[in-house]
C-alpha cells in the first residue's frame, strides 16, 4: 500500500482502521446475514421459494418494466441532455433544475401522486378515459419518473466536454448534420449513454416505494419482486425473504460489475 507522506502514522492508521470498521458494521455484517439466513434452506426449498411461478412472474415484471423505462429514458434523456447543452432558450435553467427532482422527491410521494393521477378519478385517467393505474404500464411510467435523472446526468458532462472541432471536421468533409450526429457524436457519447441506461435499469429493478402505490400489487400481474421479500417478512419467514433477496442482490451486483467494466472502458478511451 502506498500512502501520502504528509499524514502522520497515527492518522494513516486511523483512516484505514475507521473505514474498515464502519463498513464492516454498516455493510458487510448486515449484507452477509442474507447469505447465512438463506443457507438455512436446503437447495430444493431455496428453489421452490426463489423460483416458484409467482416469483418468476414478479422477476419478469420487474425486469421488463425496468427495461422499458430505461429505454424511454435513454431516448428522451439523450434529447434532453442535447437540448440542455447545445441550445439556449428561455426557461433552460428551470428544466435543468427539475431533472433532479425525482432524486430529491421521496419515492412514496411519487408513487402516491402517479397512482392517483392515472387512476379513474385522477386527472390523466379522466383525460384518457381509462385507468392506467394498477397495470404494468403504470409501473413503467413511475419507474421512468424515478430513474429519469440518470441518463441525462450521465450524458450531460460528456457532451459539455466534447470538442466541437470533431463535428466541425465531419461537416467540412461533407457530412450532413444527421450523418455527423450518428457517425461522430453518438459513438462519442455511447459509453456515457450505456452507463446511464444501466443505472436507470438498476434503479428500476430494486425500486419499491413508488411502485407499490401505483401497481395494485396483484399476484402474477402487477406484483414486483421486492414486494415478495416484504410479504415473506410479514409472515416471519426470514429464510424465505432472504432467498428472494439473494436473487435480487446477485442481480444488482452483476449490474455493478458491468458498470465498473464500463467505467474502465471509458477511462482507456
Amino acid at each position: 500500500m502506498n500512502s501520502p507522506i504528509y499524514y502522520s502514522k497515527k492518522i494513516k492508521f486511523f483512516i484505514i482502521f475507521y473505514t474498515i470498521v464502519y463498513l464492516v458494521i454498516i455493510v458487510i455484517i448486515p449484507l452477509s446475514s442474507i447469505f447465512f439466513k438463506s443457507s438455512e434452506l436446503n437447495l430444493e426449498k431455496f428453489f421452490s421459494i426463489a423460483f416458484n411461478l409467482r416469483s418468476l412472474y414478479a422477476y419478469k415484471l420487474s425486469f421488463l418494466s425496468s427495461l422499458f423505462s430505461a429505454f424511454i429514458n435513454s431516448i428522451f434523456g439523450l434529447i434532453t441532455a442535447w437540448v440542455l447543452v447545445r441550445y439556449d432558450f428561455l426557461g433552460k435553467k428551470f428544466f435543468d433544475t427539475i431533472i433532479d427532482f425525482p432524486i430529491a422527491l421521496p419515492t412514496a410521494v411519487a408513487g402516491l401522486t402517479f397512482g392517483n393521477l392515472y387512476s379513474k378519478e385522477g386527472e390523466m385517467g379522466k383525460l384518457l378515459g381509462f385507468q392506467i393505474s394498477y397495470t404494468p404500464i403504470a409501473v413503467v411510467i413511475v419507474l421512468t419518473f424515478v430513474s429519469l435523472p440518470f441518463v441525462v446526468r450521465s450524458i450531460q458532462p460528456v457532451l459539455e466536454d466534447m470538442d466541437l472541432e470533431l463535428e466541425q471536421a465531419a461537416a467540412s468533409l461533407g457530412a450532413n448534420p444527421i450523418q455527423t450526429f450518428f457517425y461522430v457524436t453518438l459513438p462519442y457519447l455511447f459509453p456515457a449513454w450505456l452507463t446511464g441506461f444501466i443505472l436507470s435499469f438498476a434503479r428500476g429493478i430494486g425500486e419499491y416505494g413508488s411502485v407499490i402505490f401505483v401497481s395494485g400489487n396483484i399476484p402474477y400481474f402487477t406484483e414486483i419482486s421486492p414486494l415478495l421479500v416484504v410479504m415473506r417478512l410479514e409472515q416471519f419467514d426470514y429464510a424465505g425473504a432472504s432467498a428472494i433477496a439473494l436473487v435480487l442482490l446477485t442481480f444488482s451486483f452483476c449490474l455493478l460489475v458491468l458498470l465498473n467494466i464500463l467505467e474502465n472502458w471509458t477511462k482507456i478511451k
Binding site: 446475514s33 442535447w82 432524486i103 419515492t107 455493478l256
Partner: protein
Amino acid sequence: MKSSKLVKFFLIGIMILFLGIFVVLPMISLLVNAFKEGLKVYFNAIVHPETLHALQLNLIVAVFSIPLNLFFGVVCAILISRFEFRAKNILLTLIDLPFSVSAVISGLIFILVFGLDGWLGKWIEEKGFQVIFATPGIVLATIFVTFPFIVREVLPVLEASGDEEEQAAFTLGANSLQIFYYITLPKIKWGLLYGVILSTARVMGEYGAVSLVSGHISGLTDTLPLRIDKLYNEYQVTSAFAVSTILVGFAFVTLMLKLFIEQLKRKSHS
C-alpha cells in the same frame, strides 16, 4: 440554416413535453390534490399530532445519521483518493452497493442482524434495548441507504484537485490535522455541503428500508413517508397529499440550495 432552427424547436418541444408529462404535471396534480378540500383540511393534516411526531422522528434520525455519514464520507474519500492499494475496486463497489440494492434489502439485513430471530437479537433483548421496530433500527437502515452520498460528492473533488498543495504544506512543516483543516477542507467544502443536503433529502424521504424496520407504530415509529402511507391506506387521500407537501418542500429546498451552491462555486472559481 432554416432546417436546423426547425430541428432546434422540435427537440426543445420534445424535451418540454417529456419533462412536462413526467415531472411538472405530477407535481401540479400533487399540489392541487393537497388543497382540494381547502386550507382547513390541509392545515389540520399538517398540525395533526401524529404528523408532527413523524416530522420530529425524521429530524432525530437526521441528527444521528448525517454527522456519522459526514465523518465517514470524508475519511473514506481521503483513503480512496490519496492511498494506493489493491482492494480499491472492492471498496468502491461496497460504497456503490446501497445505490443499486433494493431499499427492501437495506431494511431486511438489519432485521436479520438485530431482529428477535437475528444474530444479536437475543443479546439485545437481554440488555433491555430495542433496535428493530424502534428508532435505532430506523437510524441504522437510513445510514446504510445514505452513506454513499457524501463519499460520492467528495471523492471526485479530491481526485480532480490532486495533493500537491498538501505536500507543499507538509514540507513547510504543517502537521496532519493542520493540512486537513487548512488545505483539504477548503477544497472539498462545496462537495461536502451538497452531499449533506442531498443526504438530508434522502433521510427525510426514505420509505422502503424504513418501512421494514419501523414496525409502523402510530405516533411512535412512523416517519413522514410512513405517515403518508398510512393516511393513504385509511382513504384520507387529501391529508396524505397535504403531508406530502412537507416532503416536496424539502425536495424543493434541496434543489434551490444546489443551484445556490453551484453559483457560489462558480464565483469562487472566477
